[in-house]
């Protein structure tokens, strides 16, 4: 099982929408994943405990230290797009 973190500013709107999309995409790809969402302020420091982080492009640079620690961090332009999530999962090597 992989652990995925999703962050947006408030942790209740955009990230929740992303969570629903990511869960759908993982299920469709047969990937066993635990998806958590949180506000950016909390997620920023917790990121290193996850395998993969999805966030809005605006917040990407807040995860520079997680990236440096080897965590995959992906921007989601369209929080409703399963296709975009699947593409990231493939590029990161979580699904074939």
């Amino acid at each position: 099982m992989i652990k995925i973190l999703i962050c947006c500013a408030s942790g209740s709107g955009t990230s929740m929408l992303m969570k629903l999309t990511v869960e759908k995409a993982c299920k469709a790809s047969g990937l066993d994943a635990k998806v958590t969402h949180s506000p950016i302020a909390e997620g920023k420091s917790a990121a290193t405990q996850y395998d993969l982080v999805f966030t809005s492009p605006n917040f990407l640079n807040m995860f520079d230290s997680a990236k440096a620690a080897g965590i995959k961090v992906c921007p989601l332009k369209n929080p409703l797009s399963d296709a975009e999530v699947k593409q990231h999962l493939q590029e990161c090597g979580f699904v074939k």
Binding site: C8, A9, S10, G11, S12, G13, T14, M16, L17, L20, T21, P39, I40, S56, N58, F59, K77, N78, P79, L80, D82
Partner: protein
């Protein structure tokens, strides 16, 4: 959900706005009128966008979801409010993928209700063709017609 917008008077239609601040204000106005939120909540949403940029765009060039924190100040009820604007609202003049014409303003105090609302919204917006149709609606009757078209069991 489309039917709920009409039943609860949580909708508005506008031609254009001078700036995105006005768009966010009017997108939330029906919630203000029935006491779901206070002006303070709208100010928070605007402040969030000022601080973090237009992360509320959930479908590039088309759909915005203005919101602040669950249980934030000035929110008294859980609801979603619909607004359609004829001319795209520009959040970033250099990036038109941050434009929007459909607005779904979120208000949330109850986590369970909010999750139910969000799932319904995600489900609705991922319905093939629905966003294209929503871009054409002119009045509440059109919203009800779309409800019939897509969600009538």
């Amino acid at each position: 959900m489309l039917k709920t917008f009409v039943e609860k008077n949580h909708y508005s239609f506008h031609q254009s706005f001078n700036n995105w601040h006005d768009a966010i204000y009017y997108g939330a106005e029906p919630l203000l009128k029935d006491g779901t939120i206070d002006e303070e909540y709208i100010e928070q949403i605007i402040q969030n966008v000022e601080t973090y940029g237009p992360y509320i765009i959930i479908d590039p060039g088309r759909v915005a979801m203005p919101h602040s924190t669950l249980g934030g100040k000035g929110v008294h009820n859980t609801a979603i409010c619909f607004m359609k604007v004829e001319e795209p609202v520009v959040f970033d003049p250099e990036d038109h993928s941050k434009d929007a014409r459909l607005f779904f303003t979120l208000a949330a105090v109850n986590p369970d209700e909010h999750l139910t609302n969000m799932m319904a919204l995600a489900n609705m917006l991922s319905t093939e063709g629905l966003i294209d149709d929503l871009l054409e609606v002119q009045n509440p009757e059109d919203l009800l017609k779309l409800h019939e078209k897509y969600f009538k069991i």
